[in-house]
Every structure is written in C-alpha cells, then in structure tokens.
Symmetry: C2
DNA sequence: TCTCTTTGCTACATCGATTGTGCAACCGTT
DNA sequence: AACGGTTGCACAATCGATGTAGCAAAGAGA
C-alpha cells in the first residue's frame, strides 16, 4: 500500500478479479441477482473489494443515479438546545436509512437561507427539511423548480408539508401556569404578565402571542400592547428590554413569558443582577427547554417541544411521499422547574 | 417553467446560446480568460444561465475535479454547547471559503466514527476535522489511505496535526479557584476536592486529572484515588456517582470539579434535590461553558474553551497545508459565575 | 500575396458508477 | 442434430462538467 495510492475504483477491482466493471458494479451492489451474476463471482469480487478497501465514489454514483444519498436540513443556528435536538434526531433518522445528513445554519437570514438551498440543490440532496424558515415561499419555489421534496419544520410553509409544534396549546398552557403561579394578583402594570422576545411576524411567535392573549382575555385581563414585547431573538436586545421594563414598572412584573432560549439568556443577564427578593415577585416561563435552565436560581417553567417527534413526523411525510400542503401538529410538553429530563440520546452523553 | 422541469445543464445553456458546452463551462467558471472566450460571449452566456436559474451540478464537477467542495467534521454529539460552538464556527469558516460543511456526530462510538469517516471519504470531502476522536489512529489510517487531509480538534491524534485546548492549564486554574473558594478547609474526606466525569483513558480527561493532581499535590494535599471519579460522560451515571459520594461522605465535598457539561447535567439532578445549606458546603467548577449554567442556584465556575479559536487554528493548518504531526494549544478562559458572555454569534440569536 | 501569430471557439476524452442490450456457452428436448 | 431457453457475463451509452488539443478565421508582418 503506497502512501499516495489513489482510491480504488470498480475498474481496479475488475482488473484484479478478471471480471468486467459492470459485473463488479453489480456484484458490489444489490442488482447482482437480477443481473444473474453467479454467486461465486459475487463472493470473489467482494473479497477483493474488501481487501482493497474499496468504497464507492458517491459523486459518480450520484451523477448517474441523479440521487446523492445526501439529505439536507436548515436550522437557524446550532447554538440552541431546541435546534440541536432537531439536528440530533434528523441525523439519527438519516443514518437509519443509510443517508448522510447535511445540516446548515441560516443565522435567520433569508439571503443565507436562499444560498444554502441553492447549494444543497447543487449537491442533489434527496430531500430537505427547513426548520425556522425565514422565507418559506422562496424556498418552496426553488425546491419545486429543482423538483426537490422538502418539509417545513417548526415554522410552516404555504406550499409544502409542514410539521410544527402546537404553539397555541403550548403557549396557552404556559400562560395558564404563569397565571396560576404568579406571586401577586391584581391589575396594576406590575401585576400583569409580559411576553418577551420573538418576531411578531413569524408563525410560531404569532401563535404564541395569540394564545397568550386568548388566555389572558378569558381570565378577564386582556393584555395591553405594552405587555407584548416582540424584540427579536438576540440575547442582548432581550436584556435591554427587560431592564427597561424593570425600570418602567419599578420592579419585575408578576409573570414573564420568555419566547425562546436565546431570549432567556438575555433575560438572565438582567435578572441575575437583581436581589433575590426582587425575583420572588415574579414567575418565569420559557418556551423551549434547556436542561440547565431547569435548575436556575429561580424556578422556570418550560415548554419542551418534541423535537424527536417533529422530525419523526417529517420523515413520515418523506417516506409516504407526501408533497402537498399539509400541517401536522405535534404536542409540546410542559416541564416543571427542577425536573431531570432524559433526552433520547442521554445514554450516549 | 413547467412543474417537472429538470435542472438545466451546461448543454441546455449551450443550445440556447449557440455556444458549445465547453465554452459555456468556461464562461460560467473562472477559466474563461485563460481560455480566450470573448467577454461578450461570456456575458451572453451568463445572462442566459441566470435566466434559466442554472446552477452547476456539483456531483459532476466533483467527479471531474476529484474535489467535492464538501468539508467534513465529526463531533461526539450535537446536544452540547461546546460541540455546537465548534459546529457553528466550523460552518462559518467553511462558508467563508465557499465550502459546504457536513457535520456528523459519532455518539462517541468508535464503530460509528469509522463508518462516518468512510462515508465522508466516499463523498470526497476536501478535508476533515475530528473533534473528540475515540479512535484517532484508525481515523488517520483511513484518511491517509484516501489521501484525505484531516485535523484533530479537542482530542489529539498521533499521525496528523491536532489543535487542542490547553487542558492542563484550564484544569489547573479551575482547581486553584476551587481550592481558594472552598467553604471549608481541612483534610477529612469531606473537606477535599473531587473530580467527576470523563473517561480516564481519553486525552483531555487525562490532562485535566493530571492538572488536578498537580495542583493539589503542590498545595500539600495529594488526592487519593477515591477523589477522582472518571465515570464517563452520561448524565445518568454522573447522577448516580454524585449521589453515592454524598452518601459516603455524609454531605457534599468541599469542592467538585465537574469534567463536562453532560456530567454537570447529571450532577445537577442530584444537587438540586438537596437543601440550600447543603449546597453552601461546596464550591462547583465545570470544565466547559454553558450560558445557562452560569446562572444556577449556586455559583459555578466554568472554563470556556475557545471553540472559535480552535477551529480557526485548524483552518490555518488546512490553509498552510500542514499535514505532519503537530500539536497546537489554544488557551481556554475561566469564566466567573453569573457573567454574561457574548458568543461570536450572539447577535444572530 | 504568403506566412506566422493571435483570437475565439469546438471536439473529444475523461472522471467512476450504473444499466439497457447483446451474445456466447450450456442445458435439456424432441 | 437442431432448437428454444437459460445462465453468466461483457460492451457501450450515459450522467454533467472540465480541460487538452486543435482548427478556422482574422490580423500582422514581410
């Protein structure tokens, strides 16, 4: 074995085995039965291939078969437990099927998202999941043109199957929990619930705000606009907003509905500077789950979206070749503070 | 544009523009100058290509050029802030170079790791980073055979460039911090420091244990074997071990050096069941950083490995075509409890 | 006008695997 | 012995892009 030996190809194996390249190809693949290659020949060829450490060139195969064996997924960012839970499950299901997952992050920028879709199309991925799409219509258009099956996860699209959490239910449950647990009751601004974070224009946030509003209205305390602070997802801006709110109210409000983990990071930056008694005036809830957030200084109620379930449903769409507009809902789960939750991959830690 | 229109190829563009496929190829690439294609022709072709929404078939290009434009990275798992920080930086640097990152998780299983390497070789990735390798020698052997450049990150290999954290320094600093901050001093078992988690056989854990031992020895209190509990990385087993330790000692030890975030998850599962005064008997340190862990009920000193720096150095090796055994160290940083730390991607949250 | 160079482009082989088609060799019948 | 059927394999086209080699036309120089 020379140091610079190139990878061996079916032609090398053919030469070594005395068979033709097409026979080698068939013998190494599934088609040798239908192509009537003698079992003894298959064995010989496979032995030689193994000795040579042969492995197929997927580019060549992909070119010929017009499928790559690659499957794509776009997430907003890697640095977030919800999205990485999606990644982990996406990868596990892909591998189960002998596919290679390509996971890219869009950083929530439509331009980047488009570039990624185009690139993945160039690589002929067999299908594509888009989590947290920022511009689903464009994505769908590009995919249709390339005849690429795609599923929206978490944020739905208008022209392809979507699998999303039941945001309304999750948010309604969380809001009810905050209402029930808030340390003070009353109607002054400080005694109200506030929702912070997210982009009012995006689907998930929209549904959650809706639920927040519905539950409060039902409870006879319809929220004022000031109670809904959709300041985006960046930790820094959440920190600023919560500080401003604290100043405005002269303390924390009775309850805070935090709309995502990144927002919670920012909120923490402010809350943790406060004296413990200031914190006791408030109850915190967060949409999305993080194992460490479960054990903070103050209790945080969380909504754990069923990432594994979302991905499972998305793969089901693929397996059943669903291509039309459908919306599948997966129930999230409320997790009480200070609960030890085992992720599906916890044993691999 | 018909619904099932196949992707257009250089042949389509050739037909539409009246030029030959090779001219189209040259015109759309970089080589048109050296191949003396008239600038006007280039413009015409590019216009048509844009109209048709042409994008190159990377499988064909990769087949021909024997490079894929894909770059691979293996991490143990996605569901961990340190590794996802690596992913995020790996991806950012790849994109800067117009490459497509393929990130796969090995779940710390050597068999899976090998399978992934083989697959990535099949796809002709242009280079490969391996973080937390479980069997670096085999990986190196496979890569050499395929003539694939590879860099080890976090855990070094013996036959390729490696970029690792300065584990000894990070762990020594953390140990010193725990020594300084421990609430009780003395020599009874409860008054000692304990290190929990990790695999004594792996490089990073080995260095950290070494540092732990060195610092304690220097301080005149060399650790007994019982003070080092390398129980792996799974949260569950860490939870069991810390519970057992608590029972044995009749309380928490003066200081706990937690060897990874997954281990900290398990430790928390036990600690949080304890009364607050039990916690005050102990000081906690964790190797690796998580933003939420910074704000727990009790202070946690953390060591933030410079994921971005590690990846930057690894890319530098690639850019300079370093292939021989080298070991680059990147300094980690100690982060005090309750510090707001901005990740390089925080603004994108 | 004839040669020589430059310009602008085309033809064709190639990368490695897959697959439709074809063709010997061999078998068993009548 | 002639025939139809099966078995086992080889040949060659193909996927789409790249790059070498080469050719015709135009321009330059004598």
């Amino acid at each position: 074995m020379t140091r610079t030996s190139r990878k061996s190809t079916i032609y090398d194996i053919a030469r070594l085995s005395g068979a033709s390249p097409s026979t080698v190809s068939a013998a190494l693949g599934e088609s040798w039965r239908t192509r009537r290659i003698a079992e003894s020949t298959v064995e010989t060829i496979r032995k030689i291939a193994a000795e040579q450490g042969y492995s197929a060139n997927m580019q060549a195969r992909g070119l010929r078969k017009a499928r790559s064996g690659l499957v794509g997924m776009i997430i907003p960012l890697h640095d977030n437990r919800f999205f990485t839970a999606l990644s982990q499950s996406f990868e596990a299901f892909a591998r189960e099927r002998g596919l290679v997952p390509v996971i890219a992050s869009s950083l929530r920028e439509p331009e980047e998202e488009r570039r990624i879709v185009e690139t993945l199309i160039s690589y002929a991925v067999d299908f594509l999941f888009i989590a947290g799409a920022t511009d689903p219509d464009t994505v769908s258009r590009m995919c249709r043109k390339a005849n690429l099956r795609h599923i929206f996860v978490d944020l739905p699209g208008n022209d392809a199957p979507s699998v999303v959490s039941d945001n309304h239910k999750g948010a309604a449950d969380l809001t009810r929990r905050l209402l029930a647990d808030r340390p003070v009751t009353g109607a002054t601004p400080r005694e109200r619930l506030y929702l912070i974070g997210g982009d009012a224009g995006d689907y998930a946030t929209g549904r959650r705000i809706e639920a927040f509003r519905d539950v409060l209205t039902e409870a006879g305390m319809p929220p004022e606009p000031a109670q809904i602070i959709a300041c985006g997802y960046a930790p820094r801006s959440a920190m600023r907003e919560i500080a401003a709110l604290y100043d405005r109210l002269g303390g924390l409000p009775a309850g805070i509905f935090v709309n995502s983990l990144t927002v919670l990071e920012g909120v923490l930056g402010h809350l943790s500077g406060l004296p413990p008694e200031a914190l006791r005036a408030s109850v915190i809830g967060c949409y999305d789950y993080d194992p460490f957030a479960a054990w903070l200084q103050f209790p945080v109620h969380m909504v754990r979206q069923d990432a594994h379930g979302l991905i499972r449903e998305a793969y089901r769409m693929i397996d059943n070749d669903v291509r039309d507009l459908t919306l599948t809902m997966v129930e999230p789960e409320q997790i009480a503070p200070r609960t030890f939750y085992d992720s599906p991959f916890a044993d691999r830690g």
